[in-house]
């Protein structure tokens, strides 16, 4: 494999290979990248004006959507969805489209550096040989139990490698985290599935075949779990059946983008979603004429109506729709579960599905299948588990910390104290591609390639009925002097010797991936069949992954789903103040989109605000407080405070303030931060403040979130109360919908 093969030889071999059904890749480690040539000097296999297309996997979130990237002369030009991949079937979200702006971002970490925790990115390159030695020494000289790996939710092959490595030497298993999974309340969802449905996997809600959908604050059209797959499901629910249009009802305290698509948006007080679900269960059971199952027996419908602010008529109306529907579906969302009573809310909603007898049926609830080559569902760490991790850091239990694919300084609530805990870790090594907040506070940055320059695979946790493993391959040669983290670990393990070297006997990353794919060779029920690993790898690259052809998702057990009594406990709210505070993930930026300028310039679907943060407030409430659009207020919670401009949002509960998560970076490149202090900007007032060499853009709601968890360990992020203080200043938000204000022409009448 490693010998050089000329193109002519390769063609001969490939022709011969076709006869024996095996395809030779002819790729040694050195020839695994396509080179980027100037347009004037074209490789012999390209024609002027003709593109080359490569299949790979999107890494903007962990959903694992397949991509086809159009390249010309070694440049990636355009990202499209891979029509064959069962997760996205040829479609992409805005973040997937903008992934090229990450690849060609002018603010990448271009070479390994000894960062030394300074506020700006260090500009002197290190030698990669020295970098390998640093990692090897860290692995060798640290007590095995005091090594820790903190990883993001994307790039599963790296997670597998680190798991193998830590297993082999008896180090603690790697911890994975992502703000998206925190705001999705994934732990609560899995725990409820375990309690009620007998399986701790991730439930899959078959929207496409449902006819009445009732969602509790679930933002499945925005960022929730697998947004492209759920958007397709929604589209089919509405228009897939020409005879019947699916009906969609959303209970949520503010009208999110998802709620805006609902036929009925019913405002509900935060924390009472479980109560509403139980009341609906009782009413549906009564409407169907059977006895009320134990799950719903404790609820008093009138009390539920009074507490939630949903009128009795509305409850009866929705219950009637559910009772009469052929395949009704109820979905619990991250906000409803990110409460002190989140677990019982999740159970109540799943029990409602069991009551309507849709478990394991079309239009109902399934347990997402494990991916090919996956032993068990590896849920990302909950906030409670992260809190325990931070406690270990604080107590000095971690001496060497490796961080990849996650930015905990920005993503975790400030009150958990990750940034302070970092000070107690003697050695922090980051593998960040971008100079984000966490990378800057590291001792070393050994940058990984961008996702589009990388090999790998990603398991699809949910989104399709099939079991899916999406494959990645480099679509361009690396722009800068970066190295695949897997290669760094292989090299470091070799230098470290001993058990580590034994655990990593691979020549390079691709060798490791082939090793992991070996178990799939010869499977007959997959998207392709290959007789041996080299052929399999080639097809894996060509098709962008491997997935089963048959339905692999599991029907949950309905046996105990209704027999357990569910108590709707009163939600507890932390802090004092008159407002419920609801952070939600920005649909366009998500957790890591802020450094991509086109994502910044996409208007938020509901407020049309670009490039900044806002807090959504009911116009009546604002009027009562003497506040108007673009007035800067200080939000004060028990855990902290932040300043943000007010957006008068007509569709939000008067007692609720909602704020997007995604902005508020103090590092992460020129587009995520501001280059000018805001007082110079637009000639207006200061906003945020100088941090290092960059200025803060917008505000991060994680700054005011307290450390409160629900029973499943998820953060009770929607269980905060805040108060507001006027600052008397203005911050004019750039929005698509109205230019008035920016020109100083006064304000429009209230919407």
């Amino acid at each position: 494999m490693s010998q050089k093969i000329s193109r002519r030889d390769f063609l001969k071999l490939a022709t011969a290979g076709a006869a024996t059904t095996a395809v030779l890749t002819g790729c040694g480690p050195a020839s695994r990248y396509i080179t980027r040539e100037p347009y004037t000097k074209m490789p012999e296999y390209t024609y002027n004006g003709l593109s080359t297309y490569y299949a790979t996997t999107c890494r903007e979130c962990a959903a694992g959507c397949g991509l086809i990237v159009r390249t010309m002369q070694g440049r990636a030009i355009k990202v499209e969805g891979n029509a064959a991949n069962p997760i996205n079937l040829g479609k992409t979200c805005a973040r997937g489209q903008a992934t090229l702006q990450g690849l060609y971002n002018p603010d990448r970490v271009e070479f390994p550096v000894k960062q030394g925790r300074s506020s700006a990115l260090v500009n002197t390159p290190m030698n990669w040989e020295d970098a390998f030695q640093v990692v090897a020494d860290a692995l060798n000289n640290t007590n095995i139990s005091e090594i820790a790996f903190l990883m993001g939710t994307a790039s599963d092959h790296l997670f597998d490698m680190v798991s193998d490595l830590t297993n082999a030497v008896g180090a603690p298993a790697p911890v994975r985290f992502g703000a998206l999974s925190m705001f999705e309340s994934r732990a609560t969802l899995s725990k409820a599935a375990e309690n009620l449905l007998g399986s701790a996997g991730l439930p899959f809600f078959d929207l496409a075949n449902a006819d009445v959908v009732v969602s509790f604050s679930s933002n499945f059209l925005e960022t929730w779990l697998s947004p492209v797959a759920y958007t397709r499901g929604f589209s089919r629910m509405r228009r897939g059946n020409p005879k019947k249009r699916g009906y969609f009802i959303q209970f949520e305290s503010q009208m999110s983008q998802t709620a805006a698509k609902a036929d009925e948006w019913i405002p509900v007080l935060p924390g009472t979603e479980g109560l509403v679900a139980l009341a609906l269960g009782r009413l549906v059971a009564e409407a169907k004429g059977g006895s009320v199952p134990r799950a719903f027996s404790s609820v008093d419908v009138e009390e539920a109506s009074a507490k939630s602010g949903v009128s009795l008529e509305q409850l009866e109306h929705v219950a009637g729709l559910i009772a009469e529907a052929q395949s009704p579906l109820t979905i619990p969302g991250g906000q409803a579960l990110g409460q002190s009573n989140g677990l019982s809310t999740a159970e109540a909603v799943l029990a409602l599905n069991a009551l309507t007898d849709n478990l394991g049926k079309p239009g109902g609830v399934f347990i997402s299948p494990l991916s090919p080559n996956e032993d068990a569902y590896h849920r990302p760490a909950s906030a409670k588990e992260m809190s325990d991790f931070i406690a270990r850091m604080k107590s000095g239990g971690i001496k060497a910390l490796f961080i990849h694919g996650v930015n905990p300084v920005f993503e975790l609530p400030k009150s958990l104290g990750f940034a302070e805990a970092l000070a107690n870790v003697p050695l922090v090594i980051s593998f960040a591609t971008f100079p984000d907040e966490t990378a800057l506070t590291s001792d070393y940055i050994f940058p990984d390639h961008h996702g589009l320059e990388s090999w790998g695979y990603q398991r699809s946790a949910t989104g399709a009925m099939q079991s899916v493993l999406s494959g990645s391959q480099p679509v361009v040669s690396p722009m800068y002097d970066t190295r695949a983290t897997t290669d760094v670990l292989i090299e470091a393990a070799r230098l470290a010797g001993g058990k580590l070297a034994e655990a990593m006997p691979f020549t390079d990353e691709v060798d490791f991936i082939q090793n992991k794919l070996a178990s799939l060779v010869g499977h007959v029920d997959g998207s392709f069949i290959a007789p041996e690993i080299n052929t399999f790898s080639s097809y894996f690259q060509q098709h962008g992954g491997w997935w089963t052809t048959a339905v692999a998702s599991n029907a949950p057990s309905a046996a105990d789903a209704l027999s357990k009594g569910i108590e709707a406990e009163e939600a507890e709210f932390a802090g004092e103040g008159e407002f419920f505070f609801i952070p939600f993930v920005s649909p366009t930026l998500a957790e890591a989109g802020a450094n991509k300028p086109w994502l910044q310039e996409l208007p938020d679907p509901m407020t049309t605000v670009m490039w900044n943060s806002w807090v959504a407030m009911n116009p009546e409430t604002a009027h009562h407080h003497g506040l108007d659009n673009d007035d800067v207020v200080k939000l004060v919670s028990e855990a902290g405070e932040l300043e943000v401009a007010v957006y008068l949002y007509p569709a939000i509960h008067p007692d609720v303030l909602a704020m997007p998560f995604g902005q508020g970076h103090t590092a992460y490149g020129r587009f995520a931060t501001a280059q000018l202090p805001q007082e110079e900007f637009l000639g207006l007032v200061p906003y945020g403040g100088p941090v290092g060499d960059a200025f803060k853009r917008g505000a991060n709601p994680a700054d005011v979130l307290g450390a409160h968890f629900n029973e499943a360990g998820d953060l009770a992020f929607a269980g905060m109360k805040v108060k507001i203080e006027k600052t008397g200043r203005k911050q004019y938000l750039s929005r698509l919908e109205s230019r008035i204000g920016v020109y100083g022409e006064g304000f429009p009448e209230e919407p």
Partner: protein, 258 residues
């Protein structure tokens, strides 16, 4: 096809002209407002972002934007269905006759509104006269703003330029631009079909926005082929055309809720 719209008794011809050659339908019942089309359009057509300040002044380069309006007051408030708005490729376009330099002519071959960048002198009359407000003007040389590049050995390098689509012009300051129905894709598909001695098939290619749309709300194709998907969708009862009363003959049909 040349149609004298002032000719008495030309109603049949007007109806035919109203169909045009290329058309699009947008199903507002399933459009989720996710902005994937906006991003896809920007990536395909070398649109430049303009930054926070210019965006606040309404100078964004969005060839397609998603509109939503509010109706009623809390709690009976409703957001109107998301409405992607783009150049309607009018058969009888208000932008065309006002251009003093013929930079926005009508293509007889494709029956589309063209924008000839190297003729445009930036009077902005066309944008002024567009009832759909879908034209955007280059107020600066956005692609080469120095802050977007890095100084490498004394040279200003723009890594973002690697992404530029070689099939599409990069527009400079003082130029008006708008949605082209991805004319570069139309031409590519036609060239391909011609070289293979056949007609372009329905669904063989599509525009960037339609290709990305996760809800499959956007459909593009030949309106003059009655059996094409877009024709069939456009003739559903749900179909409406915006500002039809201005007799602009828009080529984009919106499918209403319900």
């Amino acid at each position: 096809m040349t149609v004298d719209l002032n000719l008495v008794g030309a109603k049949g011809a007007i109806a035919e002209a109203a169909e045009g050659k290329w058309g699009m339908t947008i199903d507002q019942d399933i459009c989720t407002g996710c902005q994937a089309c906006v991003a896809a359009c920007a990536m395909e057509n070398n649109l430049s972002f303009v930054g926070e300040e210019d965006a606040g002044y309404g100078r964004t380069q969005h060839w397609i934007r998603i509109e939503r309006f509010w109706e009623g007051e809390y709690p009976e408030v409703k957001a109107t269905p998301f409405q992607p708005m783009l150049c309607q490729q009018c058969g009888h376009a208000p932008c065309e006759p006002v251009c003093p330099v013929f930079a926005t002519p009508h293509s007889p071959a494709e029956d589309l509104n063209l924008q000839v960048y190297n003729r445009c002198v930036g009077t902005r009359y066309c944008a002024n006269n567009c009832p759909y407000q879908v034209r955007s003007f280059n107020w600066r040389d956005y692609h080469t703003i120095p802050e977007r590049g890095n100084m490498v050995n004394g040279t200003l390098v723009f890594p973002l330029h690697n992404q530029l689509n070689p099939d599409v012009t990069v527009r400079r300051r003082g130029i008006m631009e708008k949605c082209t129905f991805c004319i570069q894709r139309i031409h590519k598909a036609q060239d391909q079909a011609k070289s293979e001695g056949r007609e372009v098939e329905d669904g063989e290619f599509t525009t960037a926005c339609a290709q990305a749309c996760p809800a499959t709300a956007i459909t593009f194709g030949r309106m003059d082929h009655p059996e094409s998907l877009v024709s069939q969708l456009a003739h559903q009862q749900r179909g409406v055309k915006h500002l039809e009363e201005l007799n602009t003959l828009p080529r984009v049909t919106y499918l209403k809720e319900g």
